[in-house]
Symmetry: C2
Subunit: 482 residues, 2 copies
């Protein structure tokens, strides 16, 4: 499944080095009390034969909430443990006081502790059948109605959906499909147009390449040349053990592992582009500020010998894999992933979330690889027993024909490869694009820091301004005066 794995790039890979069920300590440090809660929800919202319910987890924090003129900020959870997302969405915690907000983080079904069939949830296609974006949105809808019914003061409040990455896609889709439940959505780094032929398949890797090109002289060129170097070395008698040693791999390379090795390296460059933040951060991995720049310091000369070039590639990768100095060896079947969350994400990318990727080695720094839907489908069938329906997402969520909707902020960082499939120009007065030139993957959702670039500060203030407008529109139009 090597070839497939590369094409199954997760939006992000939240399982990383953090534990599957991280403690809530980070939240406590924000001085906001958080309550993890479970709410029964239908396993199948769209059929009545299966009457099973499951416990959906959500986190709720009400320290700054005001029931008179506040708001409910509702994080539409994505492909991972919701605790991790609540820990990495500092923006919501930062604006809670200003907006008098109740914070709710809703976990996506089949991730974290929200498993429809417990341990059996991942067993086969039959048990995975209820893992779709439509079911997840319906969970959010039922949860909001539940909160409005049961939390005193919630009923008269506007709700705003917020999410990043796939969670941002869900936030946008939620506003489109359930505008009666949320007054607006902040969709951060949400590649809603990375489907079908809405965006050329090469754009993603082109942006990755551009990040490396701009981050150091000859950097992307070095990477482009490295593939040939690896190929040539792997064809020599001593090449495989040498590559194993040079990359500090945990297990010895066979010749059939070479594609997987190159995919692992490619994914690392992709991840680095996604987390190319202006300050030290621990999102997928602990990293220095502007990590791509640091990586590129090792990649200034594409024209050295194959073995020297590959040694430099290793040094560069090491910025990602061993910045903390704790790593002993590298496992090429893991980039940041390897655990539950991303396994099931693979199912989603084999059913609804079909993201065509391709490279040509000309506009990008990768070996050429065409988008091959037929092979992709066959690989999906082998791994999951299902086949993708690549045009369904456009059918159900509208593709580029979304101008009739309203109140969605699409924020994107220019450095983020996912921005290629994002909405980066205003579609109307209320479908607005916020672009952050120095931004990588949903930088704006992170906690504010002293070193935030002005463009990021501006982006956040525009976002808050829109949200305040939605809130005041809500109270202006619908509040029953006492």
């Amino acid at each position: 499944m090597g070839g497939l794995a590369f094409l199954l790039l997760p939006f992000l890979a939240p399982m990383a080095t953090t534990a599957v069920n991280p403690a809530l300590r980070a939240l406590a440090s924000l001085n906001l009390q958080v309550f993890p809660t479970f709410q029964p929800n239908e396993v199948d919202h769209f059929g009545f034969y299966n009457t099973k319910t499951f416990r959906q987890r959500y986190l709720i924090a009400d320290k700054y909430w005001k029931t008179y003129d506040g708001v409910i900020l509702f994080y539409t959870g994505n492909e991972g443990d919701i605790t991790w997302f609540s820990n990495h969405t500092g923006f919501m915690w930062d604006v809670a006081e200003k907006l008098k907000a109740l914070l709710v983080f809703a976990e996506h079904r089949y991730y974290g502790d929200s498993l429809p069939f417990g341990e059996d949830s991942f067993k086969d296609a039959k048990h995975l059948n209820f893992l779709t974006s439509e079911q997840a949105l319906a969970d959010f809808a039922e949860l909001i109605r539940h909160l409005k019914r049961t939390v005193p003061g919630a009923d008269g409040q506007p709700v705003i959906a917020i999410g990043g990455s796939y969670g941002g896609v869900l936030a946008a889709w939620f506003r489109m499909k359930y505008p009666h439940l949320v007054v607006g959505a902040l969709a951060a780094s949400a590649p809603i147009w990375q489907f079908e032929e809405l965006t050329p398949c090469g754009v993603f890797m082109k942006i990755v390449t551009e990040d490396f090109r701009k981050s150091g002289t000859k950097c992307s060129e070095s990477i482009l040349r490295s593939w040939g170097a690896i190929n040539r070395l792997s064809n020599t008698g001593s090449g495989l053990p040498w590559l194993t040693r040079t990359f500090h791999l945990c297990t010895s390379l066979n010749s059939e592992d070479i594609q997987r090795l190159k995919d692992w390296i490619s994914e690392t460059w992709v991840n680095l582009a996604m987390v190319n933040y202006p300050y030290p951060a621990n999102f997928l991995k602990p990293l220095p500020s502007w990590p791509v720049k640091v990586v590129c310091q090792y990649l200034t000369n594409p024209y050295m010998s194959d073995s020297l070039l590959v040694q430099n590639i290793y040094q560069a990768l090491n910025v990602y894999y061993n910045y903390s100095g704790e790593s002993r060896c590298n496992n090429i079947s893991e980039t940041t992933i390897g655990t539950l969350g991303s396994r099931v994400w693979g199912y989603q990318t084999c059913t609804e979330i079909i993201l065509p990727f391709c490279t040509n080695g000309i506009d990008d720094m990768f070996e050429p690889r065409a988008w091959d839907l037929e092979k992709y489908s066959d690989d999906c069938y082998k791994q999951w027993g299902v086949r993708p329906r690549p045009s369904w997402i456009t059918t159900v969520y509208g593709g580029k024909e979304i101008h009739s909707h309203s109140n969605i902020i699409f924020s994107n960082g220019d450095l983020d490869p996912w921005s290629g499939g994002g909405v980066t120009e205003d579609l109307s007065d209320t479908l607005v694009a916020v672009n952050i030139p120095e931004g990588a993957h949903h930088l704006d959702l992170r906690s504010s820091t002293d070193t935030d670039p002005p463009s990021l500060q501006l982006a956040r203030s525009v976002e808050v301004r829109h949200m305040k407008q939605w809130i005041s529109d809500f109270y202006g139009n619908y509040r029953k005066q006492p």
Copy 2:
């Protein structure tokens, strides 16, 4: 199941005396060629385990279609054979030339010839599992995308959804959920608010009563008193055979049939109110003009003896059941129904389409009956093996919070009992109400006649004006000039 049957009032009952698969002769008489076609569609749009497809039927007529500046009028089929609906939606045929329209009539899954599992479709809750409004809307969406891909000229055209009754509800919901596929919707007599507590449960029967009250002196009073008369007669020794004879019933009444008899009579009054058209028509049954007036001619004296009152009730019913003079005996398990279509409609009213009805004998002319969800649910479970989710429709389609949508015409006739759950006031500039004082159930969708009242003519012209506006907006905004 007597009690349930009353509460399972279909929106309308298209199976009636027409054959299940009526010929297309009526269409031919309109001089428009019509092509019945089948298109494979997913049985389960919302899951990937079941990969079965089924043949969805649709009718298509292109005589007046112009691909340069025309429109596709798309009938969102409801609970019956689509041929029947195309025969009874003369409005679309009437406006085809004016709007240069391609007409498409899409059949609703599980009705007519669009059976996901053929003969097995109605076997049990497992096979009925895919009968939901969401699946039906997804069928329509896939069908529109299919037409745009395959019919030359269709791709650059706006589509308008049109439907009446449950089909009107679907047209409105389709515009809400798939605004990228239809520029607007004409939702005729669509009771989108007949759910949960959006409308008081007594309104429906109150409107029925009002129709009878206005159609003849003492008419509703006579009906109100008739229930007691029937009850008293059924308690006497000779009462049951007398009632059997008097009502010309096909089978002898037992004492446990009395409730069913009264329900059958009640349903007849309801149906008469629905089809109280200003000219002779054959919608559910062949009927004279203003049939409720004709019925009320027999019901002018509520204070006669029980047996005389009941004999008058029979005469009144006979207007409905034997206007054509062909009926030999009356079957109280049928009003207009009894065939496939309405059987499955019962499933829909036991799952999603939960329409609370109640009577109190004060505001209406019926015996008091409370809305009893618990009993309703138990009856559903007995009959179909499923239980209703009464709040789901509001969760998914928004209830009264639909002001953020656009381009929907809600037309209602004041005489139509379903208007009580309809939208009868403008919600915004583009969510408009068209009320027809002399109108019964989606009168505006019928063919125009020489005797159409002015209010009906006005309603249709307002509807056409809105549709023309949507079409010109579409071409103004999106046409790529050659």
